[in-house]
């Protein structure tokens, strides 16, 4: 641990989200530091997706603030928000690639919308993004429906990287992948984080991904959030957290925790 306080990239301040009478978040606060991989976990219906949408500026919280790189995005005009949105990249749970466009067209879409570039330059930049996420260059000509699940996730990541974001949001990046593909995706995220100095926020249920990639973890329980390193979270006494990490499927992190201590 360094003595200097870490640079805060995202600051979520007392966010409250309600749907009718149902309160999903009741005063959620945490900071995401520059260069870390920040995991968000929680049970089904605990509001992970809602929290992610709030952080992306796609949803106005009922109270509280979200500060991205020192600027409060709640209450921003659409025009200001558009500026902010170019600073981050997002991948959605099912990829959300545009099915009527090829992978290459998907990747260059943010560029085409942002500026005027020559066709050759666009092709070259698409090749770069494909290479960055470890996809064969020929895959660019394919339509999303022709790709395997792992390739869809990589293609979605390639599109998220199109504008060289400083912040990356990943929603369930390894859900639906086999363990080998999931581990490869974890490696890819860590590699990109290291080489591009990205800050990564990911929502995940994959305990292996959590253990391998995340520096700190936020757990959504009882409409609040508990933030700690993974080891700290694992030792937490909250019944739901105990069940999550020490229940029938919690063994993996137990092992990873030992490995984490050894490293």
């Amino acid at each position: 641990m360094t003595a200097t306080p870490p640079e805060v990239v995202i600051s979520v301040r007392d966010v409250v989200n309600r749907f009718g009478a149902q309160t999903v978040h009741d005063g959620v606060s945490f900071d995401v530091h520059a260069g870390e991989v920040f995991g968000i976990v929680g049970g089904s219906g605990s509001g992970k997706s809602v929290l992610l949408k709030t952080m992306l500026g796609l949803r106005q919280p009922d109270a509280g603030a979200v500060v991205l790189e020192g600027r409060d995005i709640t209450g921003m005009t659409d025009r200001e928000l558009r500026e902010v949105k170019r600073r981050y990249g997002v991948t959605f749970q099912h990829g959300a690639l545009f099915t009527s466009l090829t992978v290459r067209e998907n990747i260059i879409l943010p560029l085409v919308e942002a500026m005027q570039l020559e066709e050759a330059t666009l092709q070259s930049l698409a090749e770069l993004r494909l290479r960055m996420v470890g996809l064969p260059v020929e895959a660019g000509a394919k339509y999303p429906a022709q790709l395997s699940g792992g390739m869809v996730k990589r293609a979605a990541l390639a599109r998220a990287l199109a504008l060289d974001p400083v912040l990356l949001f990943l929603d369930e990046p390894t859900a639906g992948l086999d363990p080998i593909a999931a581990a490869a995706f974890d490696d890819l995220v860590l590699y990109l984080r290291r080489t591009l100095a990205l800050t990564v926020v990911m929502v995940t249920h994959d305990l292996d991904t959590l253990a391998r990639t995340c520096d700190r973890v936020a757990v959504l329980v009882d409409r609040k959030v508990i933030v700690d390193t993974l080891e700290g979270i694992v030792r937490n006494d909250h019944p739901w957290i105990r069940e999550y990490f020490h229940g029938a499927r919690g063994r993996v992190v137990g092992g990873a925790e030992e490995a984490g201590r050894g490293a």
Binding site: T99, T121, L125, A141
Partner: protein
């Protein structure tokens, strides 16, 4: 702005030097692209990076590619002044990886290949329509024997959605069209003192043709598209596969209730349209040519044969079947993309309207032959 120093690129045409300064972000790609083109024209001899700040990976890639190109065309790589960007090492690493994996090459664009594909596609569509028809007849045969398989509740729901909910719009359209045709008819017949025949015109027109045809076209636009879109989304969402995996027959669960529902609903809507059409004609006759209601009914009775009403109504179930079959078939043909969904929904509407009018022409010839 996030820039600490505004990005600038200067090209010295004399010495072939490109000087970059400030932060170069992804959003400066267009400026960098123009500078690189100028630099390439100027010979691309020297690259000055002493004043450059942060260099994003996208711009670094374009820079790397441009220097690599200059090296191959100019014989020797351009001279670099200043620190090479940190990303160059990463890019070299990427380029060293062999990423030509087992992906099929892009399809040939020769006209012969495209023609072959189009032909194959056309035959496949016909084949699918045939299979579809066969499976549906088989399902209908089975359903005939077992009442449970007819799915009465589902049929009733479709009668409600496609029939009852369409009543207001069909009624208004039938009323207006009949008023318009009666008005024009009355104007044309007036010079001959034959205004009374307006009643004949409206009665025959509405009962034999307009009532059922307008209703069918409205329903094709309203329900044909809905069928195609509903089933198409289910197809994209793997819901059809889910049904089949449960041992359920999608034709029985999705197609047959829609077809039966519309076969029942369209005649009912036609009766509404006929009634509203005659009402419109009667009202116009009452107020434009001052024909009192009793005379109107008298004239109406003389004008129409006992078969006139049935000549229109008998076509309705056939039209309903054509619309429902086209809509559901096109829905089932959706695969892979949202664009397909839109295209096939359009196809469903256009084809069902075409089929309805075509079938109407056949009916006209048939009725003429048998003197109906």
């Amino acid at each position: 702005m996030p820039h600490t120093g505004e990005f600038q690129a200067q090209v010295d045409a004399g010495t072939g030097t490109l000087r970059l300064s400030g932060d170069c972000r992804a959003l400066d790609l267009d400026a960098l692209e123009r500078a690189l083109a100028d630099w390439s024209r100027a010979g691309a001899r020297t690259l000055d990076l002493t004043e450059v700040g942060r260099l994003d990976i996208g711009p670094a890639w374009l820079l790397e590619r441009a220097t690599a190109r200059a090296a191959t065309t100019g014989g020797s790589p351009p001279t670099l002044t200043g620190e090479p960007p940190g990303h160059f090492a990463y890019l070299a690493e990427l380029l060293a990886l062999d990423q030509t994996a087992d992906v099929e090459p892009e399809p040939s664009r020769s006209w012969l290949v495209r023609f072959g594909h189009a032909l194959h596609e056309r035959f496949h569509t016909w084949y699918e329509a045939l299979t579809y028809g066969g499976a549906l007849i088989e399902t209908a045969g089975q359903a005939w024997r077992s009442l449970r398989r007819l799915r009465i509740a589902s049929v009733v729901r479709h009668v409600h959605e496609t029939g009852l909910q369409a009543v207001p719009v069909v009624a208004v359209i039938a009323f207006l069209i009949s008023v318009i045709s009666a008005y024009i008819g009355a104007q044309q017949l007036r010079p001959y003192g034959a205004e009374i025949f307006t009643v004949d015109l409206v009665a025959l027109g509405v009962l034999r043709e307009l009532g059922v045809l307008l209703t069918a076209i409205m329903v094709a636009g309203r329900t044909g598209s809905a069928f195609a879109a509903e089933i198409g989304v289910m197809k994209l969402n793997d819901e059809i596969d889910a049904l089949e995996s449960m041992g359920l027959n999608p034709y029985e669960v999705l197609v047959l209730p829609r077809v039966l529902g519309l076969v029942i609903a369209l005649p009912l809507l036609t009766i509404v349209a006929d009634f509203m059409g005659l009402l419109g004609g009667g009202l116009l006759a009452r107020y434009l040519i001052d024909l009192p209601w009793p005379q109107f009914f008298q004239r109406l009775d003389d004008a129409i044969a006992p078969t006139t009403f049935w000549a229109g109504l008998v076509k309705a179930p056939v039209f309903g079947m054509l619309i429902a079959l086209t809509g559901t078939l096109r829905g089932l043909q959706v695969r892979e993309s949202s664009r397909e969904l839109g295209r096939l929904t359009t196809v469903a509407v256009v084809q069902s309207i075409f089929l309805v009018i075509f079938a109407d022409a056949l009916f006209a010839i048939f009725f003429l032959e048998i003197d109906f």
